[in-house]
């Protein structure tokens, strides 16, 4: 494990990000005036991609919302062990919704997705689509659940990084048709994520035994099946967020959050 990243002192390694990027819990240097440990994420970006990355991060950081991960600093990581660029942000001591450090009950999980939906809405209102919302991108900070920034590295045209079906099961089929992320595709992803954290059944029947390419085809050509055991109001909210046509879905992520706030989910 690295002992430092730039002038940040590594305290310990954290689970990797949704895109497999290495993360560390670090002590921030004095110049950042941060008492609490912060999180460093390594981003694999070369010099050519640096300009795009700086622009993307600045746009993201310019969106103010309590439901978005607070971004502190980005800079080149000249250490040969590094991936090229480091991103400093507030830490998420609770882990993420997919792998929380302490178990979450059903109410906590629904609330976390609702808070992420409010973060997504803030991005949408600022003209930004996330494009990669899943349970691992909903981080549990001391302030509550927040939405992490989307995958930032990688070449142009990349939609997702897939190692098994869990990496793509929350994707709107529109993205698998090659369409660009949108407000509607983020709403789909929030709903698919919610289904994944409140039900033991996958959203697509038998997908858990699919190889990667078959999983993509299943998502593209079949309809999701909402777990009939879920509470009625929750199932109804999911159904209206997972409609084929974006015009039939809830029209804004904060509307989804409002609906979830009113859902009774008995533990």
């Amino acid at each position: 494990m690295r002992s430092s990243v730039a002038d940040y002192q590594v305290i310990r390694a954290l689970p990797a990000s949704a895109a497999g990027e290495a993360r560390y819990l670090c002590q921030a240097p004095d110049r950042l005036e941060q008492d609490a440990p912060i999180m460093i994420t390594e981003l694999a970006v070369d010099a050519a991609g640096w300009r795009d990355l700086a622009g993307k991060l600045s746009r993201l950081a310019g969106v103010r919302s309590p439901y978005l991960l607070t971004l502190l600093e980005v800079g080149p990581d000249l250490d040969p062990e590094g991936a090229g660029v480091y991103l400093a942000s507030e830490s998420a001591p609770g882990g993420n919704v997919a792998v929380p450090t302490t178990p979450l009950d059903l109410t906590d999980r629904v609330r976390a997705v609702a808070q992420a939906a409010r973060g997504a809405h803030a991005l949408h209102e600022a003209g930004i689509a996330h494009g990669a919302i899943d349970a691992r991108s909903i981080l549990l900070t001391e302030r509550g659940a927040v939405l992490a920034p989307p995958v930032l590295g990688g070449p142009g045209g990349v939609i997702a990084l897939m190692h098994d079906w869990r990496d793509v099961v929350a994707l709107d089929p529109a993205l698998l048709r090659g369409e660009s992320p949108s407000r509607a595709s983020d709403i789909w992803a929030l709903a698919a994520t919610l289904h994944g954290v409140v039900s033991s059944r996958p959203l697509y029947a038998d997908i858990d035994s699919d190889p990667g390419v078959t999983a993509l085809q299943r998502i593209l050509f079949t309809r999701p099946e909402i777990d009939p055991a879920l509470p009625g109001a929750l199932a109804e909210t999911l159904a209206v967020s997972l409609a084929d046509d974006p015009g039939d879905r809830v029209l804004a992520a904060d509307e989804l959050a409002d609906r979830l706030a009113g859902v009774e989910v008995a533990p």
């Binding site: 730039a6 110049r31 991060l57 600045s58 600093e73 800079g75 080149p76 930004i128 070449p155 015009g247």
Partner: protein
Amino acid sequence: MIERIEVTAGPGTVIRYGSIVAWADASASPSLISFLAQSARNLGPSPRGGRQIADHIAGVLATRDPEPHVAFAVIGPSDHGWASLLHGPVQAWDGARWLAPSPSPGWLQAIITPRPAVTVSAAGVPTPAVQPDAMWDLESGVVPGSGFVLVPSGVPGRLAVVHQSTDDDGESPSDQLAAAGLPETALIAGDLDADADADEPATALLPEVGAAMPDAGAVTTVLPVARPAPDPEPTAANPLVDAAPDLEPEPEPEPEPEPEPTPAPRRPVAPGPAGSLDLRVASSTGAGPLPRGGGPDPRIPGAPVVAGTLCSRGHLNRPGLTACARCRTPISAGGREGISGTRPPLGILITDDGVVYGVDRGYLVGSNSRRDPTVGGGLARPLTLNGTDVSGSHAELRIVDWDLTVVDRGSTAGTCVFDPGATEWARLNPFEPRVVRPGAHLAFGQRVVTFISPWVTAG
């Protein structure tokens, strides 16, 4: 990489660490000086430090420019010459032409070919002559100075002997090249381009000024291009220098009231590591909200148009489909055919290591396709596959109407296709396009990419 750095006496600050040299004028804030010095210190040892520092500063400037009226410059080595970034009212003379941001305030990134030196100073200031035998040399550190002269060593193509012309008869560098029997096109080697990526291959391919050309005779040929810089006045060959005011003065515009100063979200923090960007001071771009809901497909100006069939909700589909690929509503036979509209994306490509690419435009597949002119010209995006048997530019994936086609580029290991239902791989003939069916696998050497598309028709 640097033979010496000669500091010009006067106000301002000159910084050198390793092979990176920076200059800022006297109005630069201490934090800017500190930022430049720290960046140069950290990137100075890198053989590509010039490119790295210029890219980084450009990235910062793309989001905010805290000191737009300050003149500063950084120069350092890159893979294909000397990378530079010039900001504000600054000028650089490379021995043949002026470089300056235009308009000013503004900034410019360029690859410079020293002929044989580069001088940097504030805009409009007479540039000192290059003294080949001068003893002044800043080896490392931060010192006062109104500019500098960078004399590189080991520059590709630079001759061992360079004479300085002391005449000032207006003879252009082109004339001098002609007198030396060298083609004027050699001058192109130093042409600047705001997009350094696009510039680099061209710079690398063209001969450097002063190189021993095939017909230039013995290697003792001397190219007297090191000459005092002309006054930085606008000329046809010197378009980057700010234009002087017209001789006939424009009527004085009514003075506009000063805008109300808005407090900048300044934070009293020290600069971060070289090249870092403080995201806490980022501000909203003011972009409008994303559209809500769905609706019929809009026609996007300039995007490719194809013929298709509309579903009842206004989604354009490939002819022959019986249900909309997007909203799944049935499409009645013969209903609303012959419609044209903006072509939707064709699907996705997934590589054998799990990278999913959208097919909304063509790709050039290869282990080093980023350098190919097809990519540089914007005709395709690079789809990089690493592998010993994947050629640099291995194959093209082109979109033709509703189809994806693959064309092998004469690769060493070849390109093969495994269609749905096939029993074996089929090898493509080089440069012979072939339609890729949805669900087909493509092998580029030993690397495999799969095409998945919703536009599957019965045929």
